[in-house]
């Protein structure tokens, strides 16, 4: 089996050197832009509206303090002091100069990070649950498998020219927190009745222009068969996927056009061929990765003054109520640090904030950090006795906003403030909505709700999966926003539905306000979340509020 593990830093430096020479040849005229563009995209370099953009992969969102410090260094030395977390567990730098990018890649290589396959028609960064290895409901930590998929897919010769980009997500919890139904391949770890470990395998999900939820192609795949089966799926798609039309080239279209059963037959046939030549090296690697991702030595201590602190401080109590998740180890919690403070651009992290998180992870979090797909950072393992100290330090840095999962914890793509493909802006809309509900002071009363915004149909902000989704469009040269309702990326995956016509920018906040008021009026208790109420009553009352007849 091909082994190109990107933690082999020499290899990464070699790749950076190669790109350095390609940049030099572009600048001296020996490469045209048409020749250069695919080469820069292979290194995660896009040209955006106002500048280049470098997209760095954070493998399945897991990052060490030293790697985080390197991300901070890049922001400070070669960008404008900040980076932007994406919905695919990557970080984007919005202002690098082309001539500096080889230096940035060198700095990343020093800590085993890179931008390989963060663009192009290849297998992209494998994503997983930000609470992997920590969540109380976990069947098994998905990261050893994610690492196997990464090692295998990086520079895999067969899969460098797929019909289109390819995204794999893997989930290890009872609850899916990796949105596996919205991926080209979704893998869900589970045990069968005999107690054996395996995967439920989904294929054909994706958002973008034609949002489609994936379907289960295999109910139970023994864990040892993961690689040959994934190879078989991608190989079948590589052959059958359309290459005549960019918009029809995703596996979701291949499955929709040919039918799940036809695809399954081809995959299973190919799987038998492939499995026969597997030697077992992959299983040795999983075992090795399992050791790497072994649980840290959890402390067996009392909660200290945690409860007294909670009783004494309203701010601390509210933060613990909102931003913590249940941990599998007694005495521990997982902490969500949101990058959605008042006035902040959703997902933007300054170099200072990144460094602080690296320090705090070392001091209080077993040196572990995760980038979540809602553009936040998780400290997966914090002992309760340390929570108040952690909170105090976060608070001093403006990072203790108690809004995880609330109305101001909005996921937003860069939109037309940065993106060359955008049809409208998304950042200012996200900021206005958050400001509005903070001013009304009803965030806690509204409770958990997922608002997601994209600046074009490519759906980088995952608007289809928002309980309330917002899509920015260009209507005759004016920004216009389409609202969708009822999407869900978590418990019951669903694509949001469009209740009616879009709104001009200045009417978006009032429209969202009417939706929220309608919900507050009709929910059966404060515990009934927006999405549950929407499912119970349907779209009609929200439609009536959005489009009053006499308006």
């Amino acid at each position: 089996m091909f082994d190109a593990r990107p933690q082999h830093n020499e290899y990464l430096r070699h790749r950076a050197q190669q790109f350095r020479s390609q940049v030099a040849r572009r600048l001296d005229g020996s490469l045209t832009e048409d020749e250069f563009k695919p080469l820069r995209l292979m290194n995660g370099v896009y040209l955006q509206l106002h500048a280049y953009m470098l997209r760095v992969a954070i493998p399945y969102g897991t990052i060490s303090p030293d790697q985080m410090r390197t991300l901070a260094l890049l922001a400070e030395k070669w960008d404008k002091g900040y980076g932007h977390w994406t919905t695919r567990q990557n970080i984007q730098y919005n202002w690098p100069k082309l001539v500096d990018i080889p230096d940035m890649l060198d700095a990343l290589a020093d800590v085993g990070l890179h931008a390989i396959q963060t663009s192009g028609n290849t297998i992209r960064n494998v994503t997983t649950d930000a609470y992997a290895g920590a969540a109380a409901d976990e069947v098994v930590d998905p990261r050893p498998y994610a690492e196997l998929l990464r090692a295998w897919s990086t520079d895999h010769a067969e899969f460098q020219f797929l019909p289109r980009k390819f995204k794999i997500a893997i989930s290890g919890g009872e609850k899916d927190r990796a949105v596996i139904a919205a991926h080209d391949i979704g893998l869900r770890l589970r045990r069968n009745e005999a107690g054996e470990l395996g995967f439920q395998v989904w294929i054909g999900g994706g958002l973008g222009r034609t949002p489609i939820l994936g379907q289960v192609v295999r109910e139970f795949l023994p864990e040892a068969d993961l690689l040959p089966y994934v190879e078989a799926i991608i190989s079948a798609y590589n052959l059958a996927g359309r290459r005549d039309n960019k918009y029809k080239a995703r596996i979701k279209i291949t499955v929709a056009e040919r039918g799940l059963d036809v695809m399954r037959d081809e995959i299973e046939a190919e799987f038998l061929n492939r499995r026969a030549v597997f030697t077992g090296v992959d299983q040795d690697m999983v075992a090795e990765f399992r050791a790497v991702y072994a649980a840290p030595a959890f402390r067996n201590e009392t909660d200290g003054d945690y409860e007294e602190r909670r009783a004494a401080s309203v701010g601390f109590r509210s933060w613990t109520d909102t931003n913590l998740s249940t941990h599998k180890a007694p005495g521990y919690a997982s902490v969500m640090v949101t990058f959605k403070a008042p006035g902040q651009t959703p997902g933007d992290a300054s170099a200072d904030q990144m460094r602080l998180l690296a320090d705090l992870a070392e001091r209080y979090g077993h040196a572990d950090l995760r980038i979540s797909h809602d553009q936040n950072v998780v400290l997966p393992h914090v002992h309760k006795s340390d929570l108040f100290a952690l909170y105090s330090e976060l608070k001093a840095a403006g990072l203790a906003t108690a809004n995880a999962g609330l109305v101001s914890d909005i996921v937003a793509c860069p939109g037309m403030d940065y993106c060359a493909l955008a049809t409208a802006r998304s950042i200012p809309i996200a900021q206005e909505i958050a400001d509005h509900f903070r001013a009304r002071d009803i965030e806690d009363e509204i409770g958990k709700i997922d608002i997601r915004i994209s600046g074009c149909i490519n759906a980088c902000g995952h608007h289809h999966l928002g309980h309330i989704g917002i899509l920015g469009l260009d209507r005759a040269g004016v920004e216009n926003y389409q609202i969708t309702l009822g999407g869900d990326g978590y418990d019951i995956p669903a694509i949001g539905q469009r209740p009616g016509a879009g709104f001009p920018a200045e009417e978006v906040v009032p429209a969202i306000d009417r939706i929220i008021n309608t919900y507050l009026d009709l929910r059966d208790s404060a515990e009934e979340r927006f999405i549950d109420a929407y499912r119970r009553v349907g779209a009609a009352p929200f439609k009536a509020a959005l489009y009053p007849v006499n308006a």
């Binding site: 005229g29 832009e33 106002h50 690098p96 403030d417 955008a422 200012p428 900021q431 260009d474 040269g477």
Partner: protein
């Protein structure tokens, strides 16, 4: 946005692109490039615009992706964008005052 249309007196245009090394937006002026959109040359004649576009494409060692962007003549005779996308390109992002616009302003003080 490489919309093709014919510049004329009724629908004037500027030629714009991104700087190859730095990535920022630039506009054509006297056959060269400026980061100040107010200094851009306004094309109101199809034939002249066509020749200028060929010239711009020929400067691939300096700029990436030149295209004709619709503009109008402002009250002071200088070009102004007609579409919000072009307005954002000259103004920079709305969340931070960053980019070449900020640098130009800083250097003017």
């Amino acid at each position: 946005m490489s919309k093709t249309f014919t510049p004329s007196i009724a629908t004037p245009a500027v030629i714009t692109a991104n700087d190859l090394r730095m990535g920022h937006c630039v506009w054509m002026r006297d056959g060269g490039w400026t980061a100040d959109p107010r200094e851009a040359q306004l094309f109101e004649d199809e034939a002249i615009a066509e020749i200028a576009m060929l010239d711009a494409i020929g400067q691939a060692n300096l700029v990436v992706g030149p295209y004709l962007a619709e503009a109008r003549r402002g009250p002071d005779g200088r070009p102004e964008p007609t579409h919000f996308r072009e307005a954002f390109r000259r103004r920079g992002p709305s969340n931070y005052f960053h980019g070449i616009q900020a640098e130009l302003e800083a250097s003017n003080v």
